[in-house]
Symmetry: C2
Subunit: 404 residues, 2 copies
């Protein structure tokens, strides 16, 4: 998860000037629309050209940025050379455990996905140890694939559909897991010295969405078999007291509604989770539910359209409550909702207009996730690279000596 930004009570000395400037220069390089020159970084950051040059050199040696070939310009002075995030060097490994598949991907510091593999496999039939073993095989293949591209994974983050506290998966109801520990590298078979972390999939998806789109404040809601959520406020993930914020899937729609596997009644998941929509649409269980829903809706099937309208209404009720509480301007729909958004949106927007007390002055926007069903996987991988971009000094101090 991203490091906490300094607060006003923090003495300035706590983070040394050099560490601060390393991060500042790297941020200018990654945020620029086109590769900036040293002079442009100096102008934009307020640092001197000499300081910028020293820092850029240090970032080049550390493998975090690269220098493009000089481009001759029609103008006075030396030709400027653009600085770009390194396309080789550290990579982030994202791993996802979901009900019916495992996935692994790797991203480089530019955010580009350099490897991606998905394996259909029902986790409900396996123990966590078996899942880690299977995930480790995918991770080994990812490490080999990116090594061939000049990349070295700096860490891995595992996305799970459950509540995570520190290194423990407290509960992942749809996997049937309780109190499962973060795997050790050896549980994955290898790679043996890769730092690992685990986090909630929707939280990671929200983080991925934030980096992919630049959106600074939004509520992310992902619908698959379960419904997850994540909150990004002013550019930062909002985790709440324990990192559990965003659990919109268990907001009550009707206090007397159907029982939920969480122990409550009338949760949003019972109205707008994939299984609830499937049952309401009268589709067979165990099939390719999303494809069946998209096909049925596209062909104008009344039971499917009704089921999606009902799900959209329930989503609209829950989202209205969230917007009333958070005064947040954008809702991003992810997971399977991306493919269903055209049929969900009218009911969602109708409820938001009716139930959000400020809707007449500032209606919330509803949009589809830019990353689609890969959001959690890519978000997990980008959590690793973002930690490097946020605190390059720490990475440079701890990384192994670069190969070659």
């Amino acid at each position: 998860m991203p490091p906490r930004p300094p607060r006003r009570d923090d003495p300035v000395r706590q983070r040394s000037l050099r560490d601060h400037n390393l991060a500042l220069v790297l941020r200018h390089v990654t945020a620029a629309n086109r590769p900036p020159s040293r002079a442009e970084i100096a102008a934009a950051s307020g640092l001197t050209r000499a300081t910028v040059s020293t820092i850029v050199d240090e970032l080049i040696v550390g493998g975090l940025v690269a220098e493009l070939e000089p481009v001759s310009r029609s103008g006075v002075g030396r030709p400027g050379t653009g600085i770009v995030p390194a396309g080789t060097g550290p990579a982030g490994l994202g791993m996802e455990v979901n009900v019916d598949y495992l996935a692994v991907c790797a991203v480089d510091l530019t955010g580009a996905v350099r490897h991606r593999q998905v394996r259909r496999l029902d986790q409900r039939e396996h123990s966590p140890a078996q899942t880690w073993q299977a995930l480790g095989e995918l991770a080994d293949q990812a490490v080999a694939a990116v090594a061939a591209q000049g990349l070295t994974p700096a860490g891995g983050v595992i996305a799970v559909p459950g509540l995570v506290e520190g290194d423990t998966i407290r509960i992942a109801p749809n996997l049937g897991w309780q109190q499962v520990a973060l795997p050790r590298p050896e549980d994955l078979g290898g790679p043996r010295d890769l730092p690992l972390d685990v986090a909630n999939e929707a939280t990671l998806a929200a983080l991925g969405e934030r980096h992919a789109t630049g959106l600074r404040s939004f509520l992310y809601v992902s619908g698959e078999i379960g419904i997850g959520g994540g909150i990004v406020l002013d550019g930062e993930l909002f985790g709440g007291s324990h990192g559990w914020a965003g659990e919109i899937g268990h907001v009550t729609i009707d206090p007397q509604g159907p029982d939920c596997h969480c122990g409550s009644r009338g949760c949003l998941e019972q109205y707008a989770g994939e299984e609830a929509i499937r049952a309401a649409a009268g589709l067979r269980a165990g099939g390719a539910v999303l494809a069946d829903l998209v096909d049925g809706a596209g062909q104008g099937s009344a039971p499917v359209l009704d089921a999606l309208e009902h799900a959209g209404t329930a989503l609209g009720v829950a989202l209205s409550g969230a917007v009333n509480l958070l005064d947040i301007g954008t809702v991003v729909l992810g997971g399977h909702y991306v493919e269903l958004i055209d049929w969900l949106r009218p009911a969602i927007e109708r409820e938001l207009a009716r139930r959000v007390i400020t809707a007449r002055w500032a209606p919330a926007k509803v949009r589809a996730s830019a990353l689609g069903s890969d959001a959690a996987l890519v978000g997990a991988a980008r959590a690793v690279t973002q930690a490097i971009l946020d605190d390059p000094a720490r990475f440079l101090a701890t990384r192994p000596a670069p190969a070659g």
Copy 2:
């Protein structure tokens, strides 16, 4: 509203070192359990004794802190003199417009309430202009009363039960107001050069509660005729995109529930607002509803106890949704709920235990507001003094020359 804390992208130079140190020293003085000496401030802040002495002198001249008489100690060295926030000098004026009363109070920099006056008056029979005139009379009396105590109001904040955006009250449904502008000082009759601001009452109450209790993260919910809310996260008020966050009164309890004056249906206010509880309890309208409820519940009246149980259940459902979304550990009940909390709490806690997905690991605490029904009024006054404490340099640069 409190100034935004510096972010990590802010160049350090933006806030000058002297401004930073003024705020730092003043914070050590106001946060100390007993009056600290210059040496103690230096030790706690990491500043040199010389710097602390210069800054303390500047704060004394500016009327923001005062020095206690030296106390002789049995020990070596000069006796230490304690530094305290000034009990004279600037004061904050809080003003409250509510459905059936107007109120004004003044606090000094220590947070002590130095004046308080409440006038029963039904605003629904008056135009905003008449309300401002009546409020101005109370404000004049407050200014005179605190002047006699050596205090000069540095600003006033008006708390209203409605949605405020910038200088406009967008809507205050229970007052019947729409699009009402912040009054100018002359609309209040006098005091003519007092900077004025207006904000939502529950937001100000949450801010007051935060300063009065030191609680760093909580959801504040205030129940009177309307239900308002405010969110404090990590010590700071969370306002959302427009300052409208916390509108829990219009979170849906039952999508098919009774019509709400906001245009929606089944809002919490229709289950746990004072009027809804009164009607459910079968009490007469127009009476002293809160007193009747407290008396009835105390005497074991079944209709009153049932009505409070129903209200508590609805509150519990709405609060569960909020805790699922925000992962916030404490709920503070304010307004009339303070006197009703013993009868509301069992149902609230039962719903939180049932509906919050993380309740088994970290159950949210429910507590009564420390400031009670004065929270919004005192919070409004403290918003003024807190702005001075947060940025004393700005206050010192703009204040009129001290009298005498």
